[in-house]
């Protein structure tokens, strides 16, 4: 195909948007509504996922060291824990530090124990993957000089289950929403192209090759996608920036943090634009194909 012809298709697709302005409006509106839904839902899902991740990151194993362990044994144990498969980080906390923490947490009454500290040294261990916490704890429990290994057995498994189920439901919902969006948009495009089947018939009767008929429609599908994506991109961006400015100061120090605006919002915009263009082109391709076969 000559570059001149491609330029013609490009120009023609623009003109056609104007000539069929009501169909353009209908298709672009379908893209706008569905992408807005997808965009808002993605913002919510990504932030909930962020919350789930921070909860998971908070899960740690507390290894209480046996009283019989001397300094060398404690150092050995630390080394062993550090080399254990699946361990990301190990922090040592002496019995003095443990008591300080207790006083800080429960009150000065515990200061009495400073004379004769009953607490033991401890290690705080983080698993590389939060889901591995239980298996890492099990391995550490078998080492010499571990008095007790504590990670909230039972509760952590339940928490992970809830988070995983939540993630899976969110994932299924996003996919379902995307499929619905694809169906809705391609159907609208199909209706608008059906209204133009006579145009396609005439093009073929005067000797147009299938590619000559198809390409302007594909360009048109692309513009519909771009036009339809603009409004959702603007709405989601402006709303999220405002929400971030409003909520971020109030969430300081809280477990739940909003995802930062950059690069998140740009990635989301890129995704919405890509989805709009993809669905527009795909919808046009499928619809025109039907008439080119006939």
């Amino acid at each position: 195909m000559k570059a001149r012809t491609l330029r013609r298709h490009f120009k023609e697709s623009f003109k056609s948007l104007g000539r069929n302005r009501w169909m353009t409006f209908a298709s672009a509106s379908a893209v706008t509504v569905t992408l807005l839904l997808v965009g808002v839902f993605l913002v919510i899902m990504m932030n909930l996922n962020q919350l789930a991740e921070s909860i998971e990151q908070d899960v740690e194993i507390k290894v209480i060291v046996d009283l019989a362990a001397d300094e060398v044994a404690v150092a050995d144990l630390e080394e062993k824990i550090r080399k254990t498969d699946g361990v990301l980080d190990v922090q040592f906390s002496s019995n003095t530090e443990e008591l300080d923490n207790m006083i800080e947490g429960y009150g000065d009454e515990f200061g009495l124990f400073k004379q004769d500290n009953p607490l033991r040294h401890a290690f705080y261990v983080k698993a590389a993957e939060p889901q591995q916490t239980a298996s890492v704890a099990e391995k550490i429990e078998a080492y010499d000089y571990t008095h007790e290994v504590n990670y909230g057995k039972g509760k952590v498994e339940k928490l992970f289950n809830v988070l995983n189920t939540g993630r899976n439901i969110g994932f299924v919902l996003v996919i379902a929403l995307l499929l619905t969006a694809t169906f809705l948009i391609s159907n609208t495009i199909r209706i608008t192209i059906t209204a133009r089947r006579r145009e396609i018939e005439i093009m073929k009767l005067v000797g147009a090759k299938n590619s000559f008929v198809r390409i302007p429609f594909l360009f048109e599908g692309m513009w519909l996608g771009v036009l339809g994506a603009i409004l959702p991109m603007v709405i989601v961006t402006v709303s999220y920036f405002n929400l971030y400015v409003l909520l971020e100061p109030k969430l300081q120090g809280e477990l739940f943090q909003l995802l930062g605006t950059t690069p998140f919002i740009y990635q989301l915009n890129g995704l919405m634009l890509f989805m709009g263009v993809f669905i527009g082109v795909w919808g046009s391709f499928m619809s025109v194909r039907k008439f080119l076969k006939a």
Binding site: K2, T5, R19, I202, V206, G207, K209
Partner: protein
Amino acid sequence: MIIMKKVYKKYPNGVVASNGINVEIKRGEFVFVVGPSGAGKSTFIKMMYREEVPTSGDIIIDDINLATLRNSQVPYLRRKVGVVFQDFKLLPKLNVYENIAFALEVIEESPEQIRKKVNVVLGLVGLTHKSRMFPNELSGGEQQRVSIARSIVNTPKVVIADEPTGNLDPATSWEIMEMLERINARGTTIVMATHNKEIVNTMRHRVIAIEGGLITRDEVGGDYGYES
């Protein structure tokens, strides 16, 4: 120019529209195809620009066998065969000039050539002054003239006309016939299906009569032969 050998066409619903037609049309001829409704005229015409494919037999136009022509080659055939329809088949959102130019754009003609050729045919059909008007702003006769202009802008060797005067009043019909006569005089073969007795009887060209999917009469300088 056009050769049909034992052309048989049976539709999926069992109707046989062509029952072994044999015919030869020479370069530069003007042929009327007549017959009652449902006799197989339309199928005969449609097979010539491969809107319909014969069930068996051969149709050869300018050395191309349409029966064995691959779908991907059909556009190239249609560029050699101009077609004029009863309902004009113009693109409603393109103006007169653009409708005619479209037939040249599909063959990727240069913009200068498109301008030159479209202006020539616009002059030929007498519509230069209406080139910026849209089909719905034209009379039926004018729309048919645009359709004729589009069919000849590629300088095809054959023009196939399927009841081109079917939607027009008698005076306009004669205008269209004069135009087709002029195109024929330049050496273009014309095959025209019609129900217009007066035109056939006045013009006295070759007449092919089709009934029940068979050629029942093939007469040079013949008349219509039916009550219209």
